[in-house]
């Protein structure tokens, strides 16, 4: 028991390392604020391309989505960060993370939005178009708002996954929360910082898990 307190919940180390970990925590939040909106916008673009019903475009989108869904995000990240410099394309860690994640998240968000857009009945399209709205206006003002509501639980679930992915950035030495915790563990010869980092992730992500459970429950009730 003493060993657990000494190594996992060591208060002096917690106090000492808190500012250091906090700097990582802010980076994690900033990463989320960058990666999640980019993923949503690019995913929406992917889904809209699919919804044009131009056959060639549709197939290209399916290939793009399935291709990038086939790679673990970490593999994409390592490829972009360690692979591209060898052909002269050296990207800073932040850009590598953003690029690699966008390839991955645009595919996942794209699939979710596609399902949402398909859930909107044909009649809504016809009604909106007959009032004089263009295809794009119909999409933006009529279809997407309803589609997003229909797939809200899936969107939330994927957002949670994307936020958790930011921990992968530690592998390319990006100073986010997990990376700072590892460094702090190395400095103090004590794994307390890792446990602290886990606690900080919970502060950020647990509310989303709870929200998600509520949404899923409500979905069941509606059925």
């Amino acid at each position: 028991m003493d060993a657990i307190i000494e190594n996992f919940f060591n208060v002096p180390i917690m106090v000492k390392m808190f500012p250091f970990l906090l700097s990582g925590f802010w980076w994690t939040i900033k990463l989320c604020l960058l990666v999640v909106p980019l993923g949503i916008v690019s995913g929406l673009a992917v889904a809209m391309l699919y919804a044009t019903h131009i056959r060639v475009l549709k197939w290209l989108v399916i290939i793009y989505v399935d291709f990038f869904r086939s790679f673990p995000p970490l593999v994409l990240l390592v490829f972009v960060y360690y692979g591209l410099p060898l052909v002269g394309l050296e990207l800073p860690a932040l850009i590598s993370v953003v690029v690699a994640f966008m390839l991955n998240t645009s595919s996942y968000y794209g699939e979710i939005f596609r399902a949402g857009i398909e859930s909107i009945p044909r009649g809504q399209w016809e009604a909106a178009r007959s009032t004089g709205l263009t295809w794009l206006q119909t999409m933006v003002h009529v279809v997407v708002p309803q589609a997003a509501r229909n797939v809200a639980p899936d969107l939330t679930s994927n957002t949670l996954e994307v936020m958790k992915f930011t921990a992968l950035a530690s592998v390319v030495s990006f100073p986010e929360l997990l990376r700072q915790a590892q460094l702090a563990q190395g400095l103090t010869y004590n794994p307390t910082p890792l446990i602290m980092a886990a606690g900080m992730y919970l502060v950020l992500l647990w509310p989303i898990v709870r929200l998600l459970s509520r949404m899923e429950r409500r979905m069941l009730a509606v059925r």
């Binding site: 060993a3 657990i4 190594n7 996992f8 399935d66 291709f67 869904r69 086939s70 790679f71 673990p72 995000p73 970490l74 593999v75 390592v78 490829f79 360690y82 692979g83 591209l84 060898l86 052909v87 002269g88 859930s119 949670l160 996954e161 958790k164 992915f165 930011t166 921990a167 992968l168 530690s170 592998v171 997990l178 915790a181 590892q182 563990q185 004590n190 794994p191 890792l194 446990i195 980092a197 886990a198 992730y201 919970l202 992500l205 647990w206 989303i208 898990v209 709870r210 998600l212 459970s213 899923e216 429950r217 069941l220 509606v222 059925r223």
Partner: protein, 223 residues
Amino acid sequence: MQKVLDNFFNIEVMAKYLPNILDGFVLTVYLAVSVVATGIVLGLALAILRAFQIKPVNFLIVIFVDLFRALPPLVIMMIFYFAFPYVGLTMSGFVAAWSCLALVLAAFAEEIYWAGILSVHKGQWEAARSTGLTHLETLIHVVLPQALRLAIAPLTNRAIAISKGTALASVVAVQEILAHAATAQAFSANTSPLTMGAIAYLILFAPLVTASRWVEARYAWKR
């Protein structure tokens, strides 16, 4: 163009490191199969346990599920591998990766099964109990067959996502595809091993991702 070919598709380098990537491929498959088998069985056991509605037990299950859904798998893996030895619990990288991913999958699977169990109408429980079936018999013969059918599509997607998580094991020194590819890349100062690793993931996951589309259509929840 020549530069790209030399760096990404260098036949000589590829031939040299092919056996390593193949070794990694076998280990990735082995790890993924172990994780999925453990995770979906443990998740089902937890959901069945939860169906007995014992308050303190359910409380613990919910805590477990929330915890493993909220934390990034890489953080959990790091704690298992780098922090647990400090309190006398030392495990190999493989065991750390396997147990971490299996527990994460179990948490997600429990929620999926539980949603399935909840979706079975209360009247069915009452009807089954009034014919003389016990609680457990009702669960096994009446409720679970229906719940499991609903669980198939989300469970397939989750199992594929977790299988891709095996790439994280490279961080705790498991010699799976990504670890072999990254090492070979460093030794050869050439990206071709990473390309090969990416192709290996494509061979492994592209069929699964494509198949999951079919499973989704076949076993879709009717909303």
